[in-house]
Amino acid sequence: MFDVEVIRKDFPILSRQVHGVPLVYLDSANTSQKPQVVLDSLTDYYTRHNANVARAVHTLGSEATMLFEGARDKVARFINAPRRDEVIFTKNSSEALNLVAYTLSNATTTPGAERFRVGPGDNIVVTEMEHHSNIVPWQLLAQRTGAEFRYIPIDDEGRLVESLIDERVDERTKVLAFVHQSNALGTVNNVEGLVTRAKAVGALTVIDASQSAPHRPLDVQSLGADFVAFTGHKLYGPTGVGVLWGRYELLADLPPFLGGGEMIETVDMSGTTFAAPPHRFEAGTPMIAEAVGLGTAIDYLTAIGMDQVQTHEAQLTAYALDALAQVPALRVIGPSTPVDRGATISFTIKGIHPHDVSQLLDEQGIAVRAGHHCARPVCLRYGIPATTRASFGIYTTTSEIDTLVAGVIKVQEMFS
C-alpha cells in the first residue's frame, strides 16, 4: 500500500526548515531527494568494502566488484534489459547521450564500424522539446561529421506535430533522438510512432529517459529503441552516476568513446584492442559508490512498485492542474490535461517574471525552479523568456500543492 506519509519519513531532508518554515520541495525534476537507505549504502560501502573494482585480487576488491556489478544487475532488471552487459555506467545522462554521439563520429575512422558512419548528406533528428543534453551532443556530432541537424516541431499544447515526423525523419536520417518525458513541458511522447518511423528508414533511435525512469515503469524491450539514457540523481540515487542502455548487438560493434584503464583488452604501444561491452565504454575507475547507491535506490523504488509511483504521481498531476487552473492570470505551458503527461508543470504568471515567482515562493519555503530548464528552444517556441516549474516525486503530497497555489496567490498580491 502506497502511503506518502510513510515514504516521507525515509527522506531526512524533508524535515528541514527553510526561511523558518517547513521545506516544500517541488523541484524533483531538477534533482530528487535521497532516501536514508541510499545514504546508508554509501556509508556502508566506504566504511566496509571500499576498493577499486575489476583489478584487485584481494577481499575488499572482490567485495567492491561484486557490489558494483551487482548494481549493474539491479539496473538491468529495473529496465528489463535482455542482458546485463547492455548496461553502461556513465556520470550522468548527458555523458550517456554524448557517448552515443562520439562513438558514431569515431566510427568514421574505425575500420569495421562502417555501418555506423554519419557524414554529409545524412541527417540527425531531435525534437523541439529536448533538453540541451539531447540537443548539443547532436549539434556537435553534425559539426564533426558534416551531417545535417534537424528537429520535429511542437504545437501550442506542447505536443509533437506528429504529421511532420515522416517529413523530418527520412531515408538519410541516421539518428532519431527524443525525450520520453519532457522536463520543461511534462509531455510524454508517443514512443511507438517515433520508433516505428525510425526503424522504417533504418535510423538508430536514442531515448532520453531522464524524466521517465523515476516516474513510471521503464521497459527497454517494449520501448523498442536502440539506446536509452537516464541519470541517477533524479532516480533517488546519488549524484555522479547515470546509465546508458544499448542493444548488445550494436554495442559489440561500436568503437570506444573514452580511452583508459579497464576498457581495454590488451594495450601495446603499437595498438590496442578493446574489451567487450559494457567495459569498453567505462574507462577509468568507475563511480563505484555511486553505482552501488543507485542500486539501492532501485531496490527502494522496486519495493514501493513503479506502478504505484506512477499512479500516485498521476493523481498529483490531475490535482495540480485543476488547482492551478483556478489561479487567475496563470498559464500552463505544456499539456493542460493529465493525459500523456508527467508530474512536472511549467507555468507563467502575467506580469511577474518567473525568477521573482520562484524566489518569493522560496521565501515561503517552497522550492520550484525558474528558467528555461535547459530547454531554451521550448521558451523560444512560446515566446517567453522562462517559466516557473513545479515538479513532483514519490514524496509529494496534495497539501504541498495547496501550499504552492496559496504561495502563488501571495506573490501576485505582492506585485499587484
Binding site: 525568477h355 521573482d356 524566489q359 521565501e363 528555461h372 523568456p385 501571495k410 505582492m414 506585485f415
Partner: protein
Amino acid sequence: MSVNMDSMYQQIILDHYKHPNHRGELADFDAEVHHVNPTCGDEVTLRIRVADGEIADLGWTGEGCSISQASTSVMSDLVVGSSVTDALQLQEKFLQLMQSQGHNDLAEDETEALEDAIAFEGVSKYPARVKCALLGWMAMKSAVASATGAGDKP
C-alpha cells in the same frame, strides 16, 4: 504578504521595479550597449552620454525580473551626474557586494556610498540571481568604456 526582514525583496526594490528611473531611449548618446543574461533571458539596452568626464545622461530599456530592472534603475540614479571615475568605482563596490555570498565585507563608508543599491545585499546569497542584479551595472561599465574609447576587451 508582508515582506519579511530577510526577504530579498526589500520595499525599495519593489518600488524601483514598479516605478523605474531613467527608463527610456536617449536620443542623444555616445554609446549604446545591449547585454543579455543567457541563463534567464533578462536583457537591457543602455545608452549613455559622457561629457567632461561625467556621465551626463543615461537611458535604458529592457525586460527581466524585478531584481534586474530595479537594480538598473537604482544604478542609473546613482551614476547620472557623477564622474566616470566615481561611477566605475561604485560599480566595483557593487560587484564586490554581489560576490560576498551574504557576508558584506565592504567598509562602512563604501557601504554608504552604495546608497539604495545596498538593498540588493540579500541577492548575493543566491548565485543564480547575482547576474540579474549585475546586468545593468555591467552594461553601464561597457557603455562607459565604449563612450570613452577605453575599450571593453583587450
